[in-house]
């Protein structure tokens, strides 16, 4: 008997309605309403986000979503940024490109983060997708300028090429000449990570000159200051600009030319780059400062007085990245000048020094929390902290969504009371009800995890290092944090009990990373056996875990949910515990 679909719209109407729903989460919700909505939705899904490239196979994605135009993939775990994931672990994009080359001839956008991208992959992209528009390689590696040349030459409608923070084998700057003279479609070009001393500057200038829609241009360090003025004059419509090195011999004309060039950029809102800054040239920026919403000075080795001078010209600033040369005094000035500040990142200028080299303490952050009511996102490296300061900060900024504090020396206590910083971080999670991301540091006991488990209900990502006393700490987090998706832990005394007791929780999360903890090999095997939709990877570069007793702790553990089973591209130092208790390798 054919079921009559009463009260439902024709598919075309539903499809049209769904086209207004952009967010992946909402789309996922739509697809679960009923079978017919699932079907309609999957045929009109154009954009897919895959947070872990090993959670699902390319074939599965293609099968469900046959008409995708834009894909975003993430590979290695976050701690790979800090060299904790050995090279060769994985995250290869080639298998994805190969499958998509056949299935998605109209693919337009590929965004990758922490993946291994080879020249072969780039060549395949250039060859396979006729309407390719956007390539973003965030923190990727494995490719050279040869691959970039293929992209430049092959993608006739390229709009965006963004290589932020990727590691590129810089063979020559001439890849830029591979952009054909007919290419006028560029909107965004970010080559700030390239090291080559010979960027083909003339090719760059010609390219910039012929792309009237270019909105974002980030140059690399090799481009010297005297070349900037020319570039800016060719592209006064830029909204986002990254300089090369900000230094050149002091010549009378350079400053005036530069100032004039910046003045001509009426739309400029965001600046970055600033390697090797000569402070005398900073005033060239003044014409744009009042409109500036984002400023990245995190490579600029200028000191507090110069930073203060610059920042006090920027009342509209929403985002500031800076080195700790800004010091407490600079942060105080920031707090009084930049009332719209939403995001602050303060990086250490001398992270490996034993003694502090600048006067940047908890006081700076407290000033900013007091003066900037819209502050939402903080990354702060410092050398001392108190519970009192953290409590004040929490009370001043209940709107924090991201709070990452890195006290440089592990296990540093409250320097006034000598106590752990449990209460301080507890205040953060208690007051900041929308907190999605938190990184802890300093001396911390299991108590801080109790606070986190109790209050941090919206927390999605937690990073922990050198903290806690026992499995109870980990248990608090796994059992209490309802929204937890990513948990990364290093050098904490967390072992088997908490993980095994909360095994089911792990399937609700994207991933768990634990290194230099006390999880035993036996527990890993058990976890892999019991939880069929988890990949339990044991990583050990010194020797195979099976050559030691099962009670021995594993060096590194990476657990992630997956519907495609253990991966087939594991290097020799990674073992996966599978359902039968055998160890795949």
């Amino acid at each position: 008997m054919q079921k009559k679909r009463a009260y439902s719209f024709p598919d075309e109407v539903l499809e049209h309605v769904f086209s207004f729903i952009q967010s992946g989460k909402d789309r996922n919700a739509v697809s679960m309403v009923c079978k017919s909505w699932y079907e309609i939705e999957r045929w009109c899904r154009r954009k897919v986000f895959i947070g872990n490239c090993y959670a699902v196979s390319p074939k599965m994605v293609i099968k469900r979503f046959p008409e995708v135009r834009s894909i975003e993939l993430k590979g290695k775990p976050h701690f790979a940024d800090f060299n904790l994931v050995p090279d060769g672990w994985g995250g290869y994009v080639l298998p994805w490109i190969v499958e998509m080359a056949g299935a998605y001839p109209w693919l337009e956008e590929i965004r990758l983060k922490r993946m291994v991208v080879t020249d072969e992959s780039l060549e395949l992209i250039a060859k396979s997708f006729k309407n390719f528009k956007v390539l973003v390689l965030f923190s990727c590696e494995g490719f050279s300028t040869d691959g970039l040349a293929a992209i430049a030459a092959g993608c006739k409608n390229l709009r965006e090429l963004d290589l932020r923070e990727s590691e590129v084998d810089d063979l020559s700057g001439h890849w830029l000449t591979h952009f054909p003279e007919t290419c006028t479609s560029l909107v965004s070009l970010n080559i700030s990570c390239l090291g080559s001393d010979e960027v083909s500057f003339s090719a760059l200038e010609r390219l910039v000159g012929r792309c009237p829609n270019l909105r974002s241009l980030r140059l690399n360090r090799a481009v010297s200051l005297d070349k900037i003025a020319n570039i800016l004059c060719l592209a006064p419509q830029l909204v986002d600009f990254g300089t090369g090195n900000y230094t050149t011999e002091l010549q009378p004309d350079v400053l005036s030319n530069l100032t004039a060039a910046f003045s001509s950029c009426k739309e400029l809102k965001s600046l970055s780059g600033f390697w090797d800054v000569v402070p005398a040239y900073l005033p060239a920026l003044y014409p744009v400062c009042s409109r500036l919403t984002s400023l990245n000075l995190s490579y600029a080795t200028i000191h507090s007085p110069e930073i203060i001078k610059l920042v006090s010209h920027c009342p509209s600033l929403q985002r500031l990245l800076v080195l700790d040369y800004i010091e407490d005094s600079g942060l105080e000035a920031l707090a009084s000048s930049c009332k719209d500040l939403q995001e602050l990142r303060v990086f250490p200028s001398d992270p490996f020094g034993v003694e502090p080299n600048v006067s940047l303490t908890e006081k700076g952050l407290v000033s900013v929390s007091l003066g900037c009511p819209k502050l939402q996102s903080v990354l702060y490296f410092c050398r001392q902290m108190t519970n009192a300061a953290l409590v004040t900060i929490a009370q001043n900024c209940p709107n924090f969504t991201r709070f990452r504090l890195c006290i440089i020396e592990p296990k540093t206590a409250d320097y006034l009371t000598r106590e752990p910083l449990d209460v301080g971080f507890g205040a953060i999670v208690e007051h900041c009800k929308d907190l999605r991301r938190l990184s802890l540091s300093g001396l911390l006991t299991d108590r801080v995890f109790e606070y986190i488990g109790t209050y941090a209900k919206k927390l999605e990502m937690l990073s922990v290092a050198f903290a806690g006393d026992s499995d109870l700490g980990l248990h608090h987090v796994l059992s209490g944090c309802e929204s937890l998706r990513k948990l990364e832990i290093r050098d904490c005394p967390f072992g088997d009990k908490a993980i095994l007791a909360n095994a089911a929780k792990l399937e609700t999360m994207r991933s768990l990373w634990m290194s230099s903890c006390t999880v035993s090999f036996g527990a890993c095997k058990l976890l892999g056996q019991k939880m069929h939709r988890l990949n339990v990877e044991v990583i050990d570069e010194t020797e195979p875990p099976c050559s030691r007793p099962e009670s021995c702790p594993v060096d590194k553990l990476y657990v992630y949910r997956s519907i495609s089973g253990p991966r087939s591209d594991m290097p020799p130092f990674v073992w996966t515990m599978d359902e039968e208790g055998t160890i795949l390798h």
Binding site: N83, D276, S349, C406, S463, E541, T542
Partner: protein, 294 residues
Amino acid sequence: MEKSYDDTNTEKSGLRLKDTELRLGLPGSESPEREEHDQNVLSLKSFVSGAKRGFSDALDGGGKWVFSGGSGGGSEGLFSPRRGGNNNGGNDLSGSDSGLGGPVLKDGVAPKPLVVQEKKSQVAAGNGNTAPASKAQVVGWPPIRSFRKNTMASHPPKNDNDDDNAEAKFGSGCLYVKVSMDGAPYLRKVDLKIYGGYKELSSALEKMFSCFTIGQCGSHGVSSRDVLSESRLIDLLHGSEYVLTYEDKDGDWMLVGDVPWEMFTNCCKRLRIMKSTEAIGLAPRAMEKCKTRT
């Protein structure tokens, strides 16, 4: 424990030409005892016969620089207990105790590569240690991306106070260079700063690349997913030798081991374990270059 940074700094701040003079071997050095597994050995000998000093000669007066087969043989690896605490006081080539924080094997815990940690700090929870006078460097801490570290390291921040220390700041942090091996499917990266000298570097590389030659989990045969094809493997085991080379700041490829360690870490951009057949013609011009540089 003596402060590890000072040694490296003072040696680095001035190029001492005396260090580049020809010498036959490390004065007073002890050669590391290495087990030699005849079957499963990749022996690295300095290939260039005309060279005054090759990499292995520089290490220990002509001994072989070998890949020991299994993983067990590596007590001479990166984390071997310090021999007598102070290797050859005046010896530049081995870098004496400029290794950052000695590897601590007090607990008898299996040593891990690339993680130089004070085990003490892990065990003593909740006692609010203040920073010890000499800081042991921990891998991946503070959490700063390599991109940032490398950017700051190559041009250390200008410091009004002390020019000598400028290099020390980010420079003493870490210095990741890529290591490729002919025939291996992917590159590795090593932080030159955590090694005290050529011996430690060679042990670490041995460990890192031995997985390409021998299967794991106790078998001495080819693993089921052998990384290299079987015929290649046989080549490695029974035939060709490898030399360790590096690319310097000028883009030239040189044999590793000719110059003092600090000089090497300053000018090494990347490493390559290359087949000795390809290394023909690589002359140790390092000494000449360094002389003309100053």
